[in-house]
């Protein structure tokens, strides 16, 4: 059943998903399905979100007051919940992004020490 493509996709760590949601909402309010699509699209489908896991994450962010939620209607006139970044969430995003960059840089340095780049 599993294809090569599926195996190459990366399962998301919980904290990473939170970060990606915040990043997506930076561009403006969105409903759940749109957030999922945006994450998949922007990462060229490499990052695979089991879409259901979005919901506990959204609620976690609401609980921390990093995002807020309001009722609205979507592009095709369907009822939908729109999630929106709060000022606290915006600050948190800057903070988390910086942390993430640091971590990613560190991991990259460990995995590819200088001079070995062409070996891989």
């Amino acid at each position: 059943m599993s294809t090569k493509e599926e195996r190459e996709r990366i399962e998301l760590l919980q904290g990473t998903l939170d970060l990606l949601i915040l990043r997506t909402l930076l561009l403006g309010p969105a409903h759940g399905h749109a957030i999922a699509k945006a994450i998949e699209f922007k990462s060229d489908d490499v990052l695979q979100v089991e879409q259901g896991s979005l919901y506990p994450a959204l609620h976690r962010l609401i609980k921390r007051r990093w995002i807020s939620v309001e009722e609205g209607t979507s592009e095709n006139n369907r009822r939908a919940k729109f999630y929106k970044l709060t000022p606290t969430g915006r600050r948190q995003l800057t903070l988390e992004t910086r942390k993430w960059d640091k971590l990613a840089g560190a991991i990259a340095r460990i995995l590819r020490p200088a001079g070995q780049e062409d070996e891989s």
């Binding site: 399905h33 999922a36 896991s53 919901y55 506990p56 609620h59 609401i62 609980k63 369907r78 919940k81």
Partner: protein, 863 residues
């Protein structure tokens, strides 16, 4: 806005909406509607779990689940009453035994002594070059008390109680009085109901003028009179004034009925040579016991310089009071605690294997729960809840067992255990039980729960019920049996060693014959017996009257009865071998005897002669010594005719000629080696009457009472004991340990047998089809029997070897509670191996017989 309820309201709709959008997208990508919907749902994941996880963000979902799990768990336990009963009973035994023993350990070792500032209370032992637990001389005590700065209060009590006749409105009664110094009650922080404690001024007398009453005496004898302070009481014809009443009894330190202050002006209280005070002090806040010890060492050195004759080499050794009172039983209790802990582990192994067996029957239920979306952690939690319910039920039943057990324990060891009266199932103990119940539940439940939830879904559904994959399941079962056998080998060997040791202790040569010997304490109260000659004729007449009245064998009197806890020793030198330094005194036990003491006790006369009546009054002073004394002090010569110069309370030592040698006897404890002792003829005011009767040792009771009344109606004796009882109560501690560890061994054996039986029965059920097949293919029934029994015995043998190896390591730790038995005693090891092997065989044989009777037709139709 952020209330959980409102937040979760639209969740279902949101999810439906989400899937609808995804389906729509998929259709737009060219899928059929059916394909599109399926793909969308796959992409979304497990809806139930998503909803549950989202809810968990908002509320303490675990609480909801817990209630649900508890309800479900209770239903499951009710549905399997047999399983539930066996598991709860097993746990009740394990937890109950632990609770009972912990209540003893808690009261004796853990709870602080019932004194204010118990942690700052320090006991002082006298120490010299050869002694570490001596008492302290009164004049030394006064110097230590006056010169130290480490103690807030420093007081002392006399080593033993004295008996007094307390006069009252009706007949006088005999009471126990104890001498204490000023500062004693203050150090202990004992509260007074009325009046005051003793002060330094109370000590400035040759004869105590005041007394303090114990609470029980005040209630029983003085009717709880609130105005008793200031009233006079008559003790042995002397009048004293009551100055105080204690608010509580202090039986852990002193069982006296009343206390009087030490009369330091008295001639007898000016000594640095006779050591009889037991000091106890309350450390000042912030002062450590080491600092106090250093200060006392300095004072001791100063006293040694000042009074070299009496004090050179003497000092104090400080020890926390708690350790003094309970130190001797600590190791034994810890051994028992370890053993009972092992029993609990065995119980856990039993219940774990029960759970494993049952979970495999429940496999289908578990698989279905997984299939409809229960996460693994959710499943584990649910199974653990059931285990915890079992454990708590076991714990509750265990508390009932323990309450009965504690009653039993209290009855077992009246004198052997200090603070026994404080032992009960208290709040602390209940908290302990609750804790170990939870711990137990996790210990036996977690493994099976993890294992059950690890099942591969598809395989589980396919295989369904009983005939699951046998290998790994059996491995765990087998491992549990091996562990159980190994644990119980260790417990059984420990209890075997202790029982063996106790058996030897009971058969040790006492050096006297306790059979048919009756004994009682006689304290002469009338002042006319202060005269030695009158006292002698009293005891002579008493001996004659008892003998003629009761057809008694021999009648004798001794100052300190063997194995009763009484003791006395004195200094001496050998006249024929004077020491180089006149102050180098030897020291040995001394007893004053009268009548035919050696005859009554059947202590053999090895050489020379016994005492005759005129010996006690003769100017020619004589002494008899025992065999250990000869071995130690006259190793190469005949001591008869030699002379001992003995300290008898006067500065001039008394020279006595050795006229006889008797066999040694046990005096302090059954475990000790025989001690050198000297016997001199005569009597004290307080003697132990020893009567050997022809038949029933209780018989001469009346004869003794009548004889005393006939000689002097003012004198009376107290209660009678047989010498057998005296010996037996001196071994009460060892009996307590042996019985308890024996009981734990029994429980361990029982649980292990049940465990082996349970696992093999389960295996037989699991392999019914296989066995049926084998029989159908022509296997003999005896082959089937052999396979099953062989399985059980193989496991048992593996457990036995592990257990024996472990026991060799572990029991070394017990050597100091064993008497005359090595921790690796081969007999005990072999006996335990044989017993456990036999039990394992029987426990395997019964299920095997059932397997043998399997009908192949029924078995193959089994599923």
């Amino acid at each position: 806005m952020r209330q959980p309820k409102r937040m979760l309201e639209g969740l279902d709709a949101d999810i439906r909406e989400h899937i609808a959008r995804e389906t729509q997208d998929n259709i737009e990508r060219g899928m059929t509607p059916e394909e599109a919907r399926y793909a969308a749902m796959r992409k979304f994941g497990n809806v139930t779990r998503v909803k549950e996880e989202t809810r968990e963000v908002w509320i303490a979902v675990w609480l909801e689940q817990l209630i649900e799990d508890v309800r479900f768990g209770l239903r499951m336990l009710r549905k399997n009453p047999g399983f539930t009963a066996v598991a709860v009973l097993t746990l009740a035994l394990g937890i109950g035994a632990n609770t009972a023993l912990f209540s003893v350990v808690n009261a004796v070792l853990i709870q602080p002594l019932p004194f204010e500032n118990a942690s700052r209370l320090v006991w002082s032992w006298g120490k010299c070059t050869l002694c570490t637990q001596a008492a302290v001389a009164p004049s030394d005590f006064i110097d230590y008390r006056a010169q130290n700065h480490s103690f807030e209060y420093y007081g002392a009590m006399a080593g033993g109680d004295s008996l007094f006749n307390l006069a009252g409105s009706d007949k006088p009664i005999q009471v126990k009085g104890s001498m204490v110094t000023a500062g004693f009650f203050d150090a202990l922080g004992v509260k007074l109901r009325y009046g005051r404690t003793f002060e330094l001024s109370d000590e400035k007398t040759t004869d105590p003028l005041v007394v303090i009453l114990s609470r029980h005496l005040w209630q029983e004898r003085f009717g709880g009179d609130p105005n008793v302070v200031g009233k006079s009481v008559t003790l042995d014809d002397k009048t004293r004034t009551v100055v105080g009443v204690l608010a509580n009894d202090i039986s852990v330190l002193s069982e006296a009925d009343l206390w009087f202050p030490a009369p330091f002006q008295n001639q007898g209280m000016q000594s640095r040579r006779s050591h009889f005070l037991r000091p106890v002090g309350l450390l000042r806040r912030g002062v450590t016991i080491f600092e106090a010890q250093a200060e006392m060492d300095t004072i001791a050195a100063r006293l040694g310089n000042e009074y070299p004759v009496t004090n050179a080499g003497w000092g104090l050794r400080l020890e926390p009071l708690q350790s003094v009172l309970v130190g001797s039983v600590r190791l034994a209790l810890l051994v028992l605690l370890a053993a009972v802990g092992f029993v609990l582990l065995i119980a856990c192994a039993n219940v774990a294997s029960l759970l494993l067996s049952r979970n495999s029957v429940r496999q289908r239920e578990i698989v279905i729960r997984t299939a409809i979306g229960a996460g693994r952690s959710r499943l584990v939690r649910q199974l653990l809840t059931e285990s915890l319910l079992l454990a708590l039920a076991g714990g509750a039943a265990g508390v009932f067992l323990a309450t009965a057990g504690v009653e039993f324990l209290r009855g077992l060891g009246p004198q052997s255990l200090p603070r026994l009266e404080e032992v009960n199932v208290s709040g602390t103990v209940l908290a302990f039980t609750f804790f170990i119940s939870i711990f137990t539940g996790i210990l036996f439940g977690l493994g099976p729960a993890l294992k059950a939830s690890r099942r591969d879904l598809a395989q589980g559904l396919r295989e369904g019920g009983a005939a699951g994959d046998a290998r790994s399941k059996h491995r765990v079962h087998n491992a549990l049996v091996v562990a159980e056998v190994a644990l119980s080998v260790v417990v059984l060997i420990a209890s075997g060693l202790l029982l063996n040791s106790f058996w030897r202790l009971m058969r040790v040569n006492l050096g006297f014959d306790p059979l048919n010997v009756l004994t009682t304490e006689l304290a002469l109260v009338s002042p006319r017996y202060d005269d030695a000659q009158r006292r002698e004729s009293f005891f002579n007449e008493l001996e004659d009257r008892i003998r003629s009245a009761s057809r008694a064998g021999a009648v004798g009197f001794v100052s300190e009865l063997p194995l009763s806890g009484e003791a006395d020793d004195t200094f001496f030198t050998i006249a024929e071998h004077p020491p180089a330094n006149p102050n180098d005194n030897n020291d040995a036990d001394i007893r004053i005897i009268d009548g035919d003491y050696f005859g009554a006790m059947r202590i053999p006369l090895l050489a020379g002669r016994a005492f005759e009546r005129q010996d006690s009054l003769d100017s020619r002073k004589v002494v008899i010594v025992n065999e250990p004394f000869v071995k130690k002090f006259f190793p190469h010569e005949n001591p008869i005719g030699k002379h001992l110069k003995m300290f008898e309370g006067k500065p001039e030592f008394t020279a006595r000629e050795i006229v006889g040698i008797v066999g040694g006897n046990k005096h302090f404890a059954l475990q000790e080696s025989l001690r050198p002792a000297m016997f001199t003829p005569g009597s004290f005011l307080k003697m132990n009457v020893v009567v050997r009767s022809a038949g029933d040792p209780a018989m001469p009771t009346t004869a003794v009472r009548q004889a005393i009344r006939a000689i002097d109606p003012d004198e009376a004796t107290s209660s009678f004991r047989t010498m057998g009882d005296v010996v037996s109560s001196s071994a009460a501690g060892d009996r307590f340990n042996a019985l308890l560890l024996g009981a734990f061994g029994g429980i361990a054996l029982l649980l292990t047998a049940a465990g082996i039986f349970g696992v093999l029965s389960y295996l037989v059920t699991q392999r019914t089809r296989e066995i049926g097949l084998r029989v159908a293919l022509g296997a003999q029934r005896s082959d089937v029997l052999g396979v099953i029994v062989g399985h059980g015995v193989r496991l048992a043998l593996l457990g036995l070897s592990i257990g024996v190896a472990a026991a060799v390591v572990v029991t070394r730790w017990m050597s100091s509670v064993l008497f005359d038995v090595k921790p690796t005693d081969p007999l005990t090891f072999v006996a335990v191996t044989v017993v456990l092997g036999t039990v394992a065989f029987l426990a395997s044989y019964l299920p095997a017989r059932r397997a043998m009777r399997v009908d192949p037709m029924v078995a193959l139709r089994h599923e």
